[in-house]
C-alpha cells in the first residue's frame, strides 16, 4: 500500500497538467545557475526514488511473503558484517558523488566579481526598495493587488498577490549584482526563476547576482517571515533588452523630475486630502488601519492621538524620520514631498481629527533637502 501510494505520487509529479502556470516541480528558470540547480535537484530526486524503491521493495516483499498468516517461520539471523559494511559504504559513495557537483555549483554562485549593474535591494516591512547605485534611481515597490481582491469582494486577477506598482527593471544578458539589506526585520529576496534566494539582514549586506538569458516578467515573494504582511510583499522583475532598458531609464528619470516639480505648485486642503487618502492606504493602512485606530499595544492609533492633533512639527518628524526601536519607519525616502504633505494633512483631518492644518509639499521639500 505504502509503495503504491509513493509510486502514484511519483507519477503524479511528472504527469504535467494542461495549465501552463500550474506546476508541481521546481522551475528550470532562466539563468545558467538555476538550470544547474534544477539538474542537481533532479539527480538527487532520482537517487532517492531508486533507494526508496529498493528499500520499500524489500520491505513490501517481507510484508507480503513473510507474514505469519502465510505460515512464515521466523529465521534467527540478526547480524551480518558484510551487509552492514556494504550499506554504510555504498551510501557514503553516493553522497560523495552528490557533493562534488553541488560544491561546484555553490562556488559558481559565490563568484562575486565585478558586475555590469549594481542594485541595492532593501527590505522594508512589506515593500522593497531598489537603488541603482550608478544611476540616480531609487524607488519603492509594493503590492498592487487591491484589498477588495484579498477580502474576496472582487474577482482575483491572474497575478493575484504577485503584482507590484513599480517592478524592478534589469537588462537581459548582463551581470546584475544585488546588494541585499533590510531596514527593519529580516526579509528574503526570492525569485524562483533566477534561483536567487538571499536573506536581507538589517545592518548587513548580502550579495547575489544574475545573468538572465531571456527577457520577460519574473515573479517572486519574500521568503522570510517578516511580520503581519509577510505574505503581501511580492517581487516583480522585468527583464528587458538593452534598448528597452535604456528607454525605461530615460522615462523613469523624466517622471522623477516631474514629481519634484509638483511639490512647487500650491495645493488646497481638498486636493491634499484626496491624495493623502490614497497614500495612506498604500503606506500606513497596514498598521494604523483604515479607521486610524491602529492595533492596541502594537500599532498606535492616529485617531484622536496626541501626535496627529498636537504639534505639527513633531508629526512631520515622526513621519519623515520614523521612531527608532519601533515598527514606525522613516518615510522620508519612501514618499515624494507631495505624498508626504498629503498624508500628514490627511492624518490631521481624517476620522474626526479636525485640526484644519495644511502641511504643504513645499514645506516638506524644504525638510527633505
Amino acid at each position: 500500500m505504502e509503495k503504491l501510494l509513493l509510486g502514484v505520487s511519483g507519477l503524479f509529479l511528472f504527469s504535467g497538467r494542461a495549465h501552463a502556470d500550474w506546476t508541481v516541480n521546481l522551475t528550470k528558470g532562466v539563468t545558467e545557475i538555476s538550470r544547474e540547480i534544477y539538474d542537481l535537484h533532479m539527480v538527487i530526486f532520482w537517487i532517492c526514488v531508486v533507494i526508496g524503491f529498493i528499500v520499500f521493495g524489500v520491505m513490501l516483499w517481507s510484508v507480503v511473503y513473510h507474514r505469519k498468516s502465510r505460515g512464515a517461520k521466523a529465521h534467527n539471523f540478526h547480524e551480518s558484517l558484510v551487509v552492514e559494511i556494504a550499506w554504510t559504504v555504498v551510501p557514503f559513495i553516493i553522497l560523495i558523488a552528490m557533493a562534488v557537483p553541488a560544491t561546484a555549483t555553490l562556488i559558481k554562485m559565490y563568484d562575486n566579481t565585478e558586475a555590469d549593474l549594481d542594485i541595492q535591494v532593501t527590505g522594508y516591512q512589506w515593500k522593497w526598495r531598489y537603488q541603482y547605485l550608478a544611476e540616480d534611481i531609487d524607488f519603492f515597490s509594493s503590492l498592487s493587488t487591491p484589498r477588495e481582491q484579498i477580502n474576496n469582494t472582487q474577482e482575483k486577477s491572474t497575478d493575484y498577490l504577485l503584482e507590484v506598482d513599480n517592478p524592478l527593471v534589469i537588462p537581459v544578458g548582463k551581470k546584475v549584482r544585488f546588494l541585499l539589506t533590510a531596514n527593519d526585520v529580516i526579509h528574503s529576496w526570492w525569485v524562483p526563476e533566477f534561483a536567487v534566494k538571499k536573506d536581507a539582514i538589517p545592518g548587513f549586506i548580502n550579495e547575489a547576482w544574475v545573468i538572465v538569458d531571456k527577457p520577460g516578467v519574473y515573479r517572486g515573494q519574500c521568503a522570510e517571515l517578516c511580520g503581519k504582511d509577510h505574505g503581501f510583499m511580492p517581487i516583480v522583475v522585468e527583464v528587458k533588452s538593452q534598448e528597452d532598458y535604456e528607454q525605461w531609464l530615460a522615462e523613469f528619470k523624466k517622471a522623477d523630475a516631474l514629481k519634484s516639480q509638483a511639490a512647487e505648485k500650491s495645493w488646497n486642503l481638498a486636493d491634499l486630502m484626496a491624495t493623502g487618502e490614497q497614500v495612506y492606504s498604500k503606506a500606513c493602512l497596514a498598521c494604523h488601519q483604515a479607521n486610524g485606530e491602529g492595533v492596541p499595544s502594537i500599532f498606535p492609533a492616529l485617531k484622536n492621538s496626541a501626535v496627529a492633533l498636537g504639534d505639527e512639527a513633531l508629526h512631520i518628524d515622526v513621519v519623515l524620520n520614523g521612531v527608532s526601536g519601533t515598527a514606525m519607519q522613516a518615510f522620508k525616502d519612501q514618499l515624494s514631498a507631495v505624498e508626504l504633505a498629503a498624508v500628514i494633512t490627511y492624518e490631521r483631518n481624517a476620522w474626526g481629527n479636525k485640526t484644519g492644518d495644511i502641511v504643504t509639499p513645499a514645506q516638506i521639500a524644504e525638510l527633505k533637502k
Binding site: E79, L81, E84, I85, T88, V100, T103, A104, I107
Partner: protein, 68 residues
C-alpha cells in the same frame, strides 16, 4: 559485577571508538568493550576523535575550495 582480567589497551579503545563511528564492530571486540567498567577512556577518546573528525571535514572543505 566481575571485572575482566585484561582491560582493553588504549589502542583497542581507539579502534573500538573508530569502529563505533563507522557503526560496525566484530562481536568479540564488542563483548570485550561492553564488559569493561572504565567508560571514561571511551569517552575521552570519543571526544578527541570527534574533534579530529570535525577537523578532517574542515580540511576537506578547505581543500575542495582550493582545488575545485
Amino acid at each position: 559485577m566481575s571485572r575482566i582480567q585484561n582491560e582493553p589497551r588504549w589502542i583497542d579503545v581507539i579502534l573500538s571508538v573508530l569502529a563505533a563511528f563507522f557503526g560496525v564492530q566484530t562481536k568479540r571486540n564488542h563483548e570485550r568493550d561492553s564488559m569493561t567498567d572504565s567508560y571514561w577512556r571511551y569517552i575521552v577518546i570519543g571526544l578527541v576523535l570527534l574533534l579530529a573528525f570535525i577537523a578532517v571535514i574542515y580540511l576537506l572543505v578547505k581543500l575542495t575550495l582550493a582545488y575545485l
